[in-house]
C-alpha cells in the first residue's frame, strides 16, 4: 500500500534566512497514528506547512498517497488540501463571525467533488457534533464555547470532508490534563471507523502512548536548531 505521507530530501528556508528544515526521509503509512514530537521553534509549523502544500520546499519531494504535492500548481495544491486533509490548530481554530455549524461546514466550500456530501452536510455535521458531544451548541456563536468545546468543533470541521489525512498541530496544549485525555479519546473514537491517517504534533511527550508511532523532529531534521543553541 502506498504510504499516506512520504517526504524525501526536503529542504526549506524562509526568504533571506538560514535553512530551517532538512529532512532526508519521512514516511507515514496509511492509517497510521503518527506522533511527531518537537519543541517549540523546532520547525513543526513549517513542516506542517510543507506537508499541506501551503509552503513550497526549495528541494525534495512530498508525496501524499499517489500525488506529489510539490509538483502541483498552487491552485491544485489548495484544492487537494481542501479535499483530502483535515487540519486542527493549537487554539483559536474557529472563524469568529461564523456560528458552530457554519464553522464545521466551511471546508465543503473548498473541496472538490463532494457534492454528495454537500447535500447531506447538515446530517454529517450533526453526526460529528454528536460524536464529539457538541451537538447542543451547533447554532451558538463560537465565543460562547469553552476552549475544549472549540477544539472539538475544530475536529468536527477537520473531519467533515472525510479527509484521508488529519493533521493536528498541538491541539491539546490549551487544555488541562483531564480534558486532554478526554479530547484524545474522543478524537480516536471519531476516527476509529475510518482508515484516516493521523499526524499529531506536540511537545508533550506524555501523549505518545495514544499513538502507534512516535518520532522526534530533532532526529528527523538535520538542521535541528532549537532555540537554546
Amino acid at each position: 500500500m502506498t504510504p499516506a505521507i512520504q517526504m524525501q530530501g526536503v529542504q526549506f528556508s524562509y526568504p533571506k534566512q538560514a535553512p530551517i528544515l532538512d529532512i532526508p526521509e519521512l514516511t507515514i503509512e496509511s492509517g497510521e497514528r503518527f506522533f511527531l514530537h518537537g519543541s517549540s521553534g523546532s520547525g513543526k509549523s513549517t513542516l506542517l506547512g510543507i506537508v499541506t502544500g501551503i509552503l513550497q520546499p526549495q528541494k525534495g519531494s512530498v508525496r501524499l498517497f499517489d500525488h506529489d504535492v510539490t509538483r502541483m500548481k498552487s491552485r491544485k495544491r489548495d484544492l487537494f488540501r481542501g479535499t483530502h486533509i483535515g487540519y486542527v490548530f493549537q487554539q483559536f481554530n474557529l472563524i469568529p463571525y461564523l456560528n458552530v455549524l457554519e464553522n464545521i461546514c466551511l471546508p465543503l466550500r473548498f473541496a472538490r467533488g463532494k457534492h454528495a456530501l454537500k447535500k447531506d452536510m447538515i446530517a454529517r455535521a450533526t453526526y460529528l457534533a454528536d460524536a464529539l458531544s457538541i451537538s447542543t451548541c451547533l447554532n451558538f456563536p463560537v465565543h460562547r464555547l469553552s476552549v475544549g468545546q472549540q477544539q472539538r468543533v475544530a475536529v468536527a470541521r477537520a473531519l467533515i470532508n472525510s479527509p484521508k489525512i488529519l493533521i493536528a498541530d498541538e491541539p491539546t496544549s490549551a487544555l488541562d490534563h483531564d480534558l486532554r485525555q478526554q479530547f484524545l479519546t474522543l478524537l480516536f473514537e471519531v476516527c476509529s471507523e475510518t482508515q484516516i491517517t493521523i499526524l499529531f504534533v506536540s511537545h508533550d511527550l506524555t501523549l505518545r502512548s495514544f499513538f502507534s508511532t512516535h518520532v522526534s523532529l530533532n532526529k528527523l531534521n538535520n538542521r535541528s536548531t532549537s532555540c537554546t543553541s
Partner: protein, 407 residues
C-alpha cells in the same frame, strides 16, 4: 458557503466599523446624487420660466439681453419698438397670439411692466401652467395694477391699495405721483420672476409718461406709441424659423427675434463652471470616504491574520483571501450607495416643499437617470479598486504567513 456570504458575515461581525464606513459612503453618495437632483431641478425650473412661447421679439441687440430683461427682470432694454410694428405682427397670418411688454418703471424695487389682457390669457410657464388670479381680476381701466405673489406678500398689499410708480428701475428721483395706480388683482405664486413684478396696462404706462393730466382717461383715448418687446406664438410651430427670418429682416426698423429655449440653454451653459466645481467637490468628498473604507479594512488586517491562516488550512487559496477582502469592499460600496439613494430620496421628499416655497425650485422625485446610473457603475468600480489595496496586502501576507500565526 460562498465567499460573498463569508464577507457579509465578517462585516456584520464588525458592526461599528462597518456602519461608520457605510454612513460615510452613503453621505457622500447622497451628496453627489442630491447635487444632481438640485442641478436638474433648477435647470428645469429655469428652462421652464417661460413656455409655449416660440419667439421673443425686441429691438436689435444682444439675444441674451433681450431674454434677460423680458423674462428675468434683469438688465435694461436699449431701444423700444414701434407699436405699429407690433400690431402688424400681431395680425400676421402665421401668428397665433402675442403678448406685448413695456418696461422701464419700477415700484419699490419691483419692476413695473406694461402689458395687455393677452398676458393673463396666453402667458405660460412650467409647461402648461398659466397665470391665475389669487384675488381680483385684470385691470379694465388705465390706472389699474396687478401685483405678483411676492410683491403682495412683501409689501402687504391688498386689493384697492394705491401705489405710485417711479420712473427708472431704481427708486429714482422722478415719481409719477400725480398718477397713482390702484391694485385690482393679486396673482398666485408662479415660482418665476412674474411673482416679483407689477403689471399695469400698456395705456397706463403710456399715460404716466405722456403726462395725461386732469380727468382719468379711458383706454381708448390713449394712443400707444412704443413697446419694449413682445412674445410670439405661431399657429404652427414649424413656422417659427420662417417667422424669425421675417422679423430679423424687417425693413422699417431693426428687430431681433430669438427662440427662448435656445437662448436659455446658452445662458445655462454660461453658468456651468459653478456646477462643475460643485461636482468636483462632491467627488473629493467621495474619495475621502473611500479612503476611510480602505483604512477600515486595512486596520483589521493584523487581527485577521489567524482567520486567513484558518481559511488557508481549510483549502482556501490566496486568491480566495483576496476575494474575501474585495467582496467586503464591494458590499460596503453597494450598501453605501443604496443607503445614499434612500437618503437622497428621503431628503428630497422632506425638503421638496421647503425648497419650493423658499427658493422657487421644484425638485421632482424622478427615478435615476442614465447619468446617475453611470455614476453608480463608476462608484462600484472605485469601491472595488479601493478594496483591492487592503486585499492585495492580505494576499501577500497569507503567502508569507502560511499556517504560522504570531498573535
Amino acid at each position: 458557503m460562498h465567499i460573498l456570504m463569508l464577507a457579509l458575515k465578517s462585516l456584520k461581525n464588525r458592526k461599528v466599523a462597518t456602519s461608520l464606513t457605510l454612513i460615510s459612503i452613503a453621505l457622500s453618495v447622497g451628496l453627489i446624487l442630491g447635487l444632481e437632483k438640485v442641478r436638474k431641478g433648477t435647470r428645469q425650473s429655469f428652462h421652464q420660466t417661460i413656455s409655449q412661447t416660440d419667439l421673443i421679439v425686441g429691438a436689435r441687440g444682444g439675444p441674451l439681453r433681450l431674454l434677460l430683461y423680458t423674462v428675468f427682470n434683469i438688465g435694461y432694454p436699449t431701444n423700444n419698438i414701434q407699436y405699429e410694428t407690433y400690431t402688424q405682427f400681431k395680425n400676421h397670418p402665421l401668428v397665433k397670439w402675442t403678448v406685448p411688454f413695456s418696461l422701464g418703471d419700477s415700484h419699490k424695487g419691483y419692476r413695473v411692466v406694461g402689458t395687455t389682457e393677452d398676458f393673463y390669457r396666453h402667458y405660460r410657464f412650467h409647461g402648461k401652467k398659466n397665470i391665475v388670479f389669487h384675488r381680483g381680476r385684470f385691470p379694465k381701466g388705465v390706472y389699474g395694477a396687478v401685483v405678483g405673489h411676492d410683491v403682495a406678500k412683501q409689501l402687504g398689499y391688498q386689493l384697492g391699495q394705491s401705489i405710485v410708480i417711479a420712473h427708472g428701475l431704481t427708486e429714482g428721483l422722478e415719481k409719477h405721483d400725480e398718477h397713482p395706480f390702484k391694485v385690482v388683482g393679486i396673482l398666485e405664486a408662479t415660482l418665476t420672476p412674474v411673482d416679483r413684478t407689477v403689471y399695469i396696462p400698456l395705456e397706463g404706462m403710456e399715460a404716466i409718461h405722456v403726462g395725461w393730466g386732469g380727468e382719468q382717461p379711458t383706454k381708448s383715448q390713449i394712443g400707444i406709441s412704443q413697446i419694449t418687446s413682445f412674445l410670439v406664438r405661431t399657429k404652427k410651430r414649424i413656422h417659427t424659423l420662417s417667422l424669425q427670418r421675417v422679423l430679423n429682416t424687417y425693413e422699417p426698423e431693426p428687430l431681433m427675434a430669438i427662440i427662448p429655449g435656445f437662448t436659455l440653454h446658452r445662458l445655462w451653459q454660461g453658468l456651468r463652471y459653478a456646477e462643475d466645481s460643485l461636482r468636483v467637490i462632491a467627488f473629493c468628498v467621495l474619495l475621502v470616504s473611500f479612503l476611510a473604507m480602505i483604512i477600515a479594512l486595512y486596520t483589521t488586517l493584523s487581527e485577521r491574520r489567524r482567520e486567513m491562516a484558518i481559511l488557508r488550512a481549510l483549502g482556501a487559496s490566496p486568491r480566495t483571501v483576496l476575494f474575501l477582502f474585495v467582496f467586503e469592499a464591494m458590499l460596503l460600496t453597494t450598501g453605501g450607495m443604496i443607503l445614499g439613494v434612500l437618503l437622497t430620496y428621503g431628503g428630497l421628499w422632506i425638503g421638496q416643499p421647503i425648497l419650493e416655497s423658499k427658493f422657487g425650485v421644484f425638485l421632482p422625485l424622478t427615478g435615476l437617470s442614465m447619468y446617475e446610473v453611470k455614476i453608480f457603475v463608476l462608484l462600484f468600480f472605485m469601491g472595488v479598486i479601493a478594496g483591492l489595496i487592503p486585499a492585495w496586502r492580505a494576499y501577500r501576507r497569507t503567502l508569507s504567513d502560511g499556517l504560522s500565526i504570531t498573535t
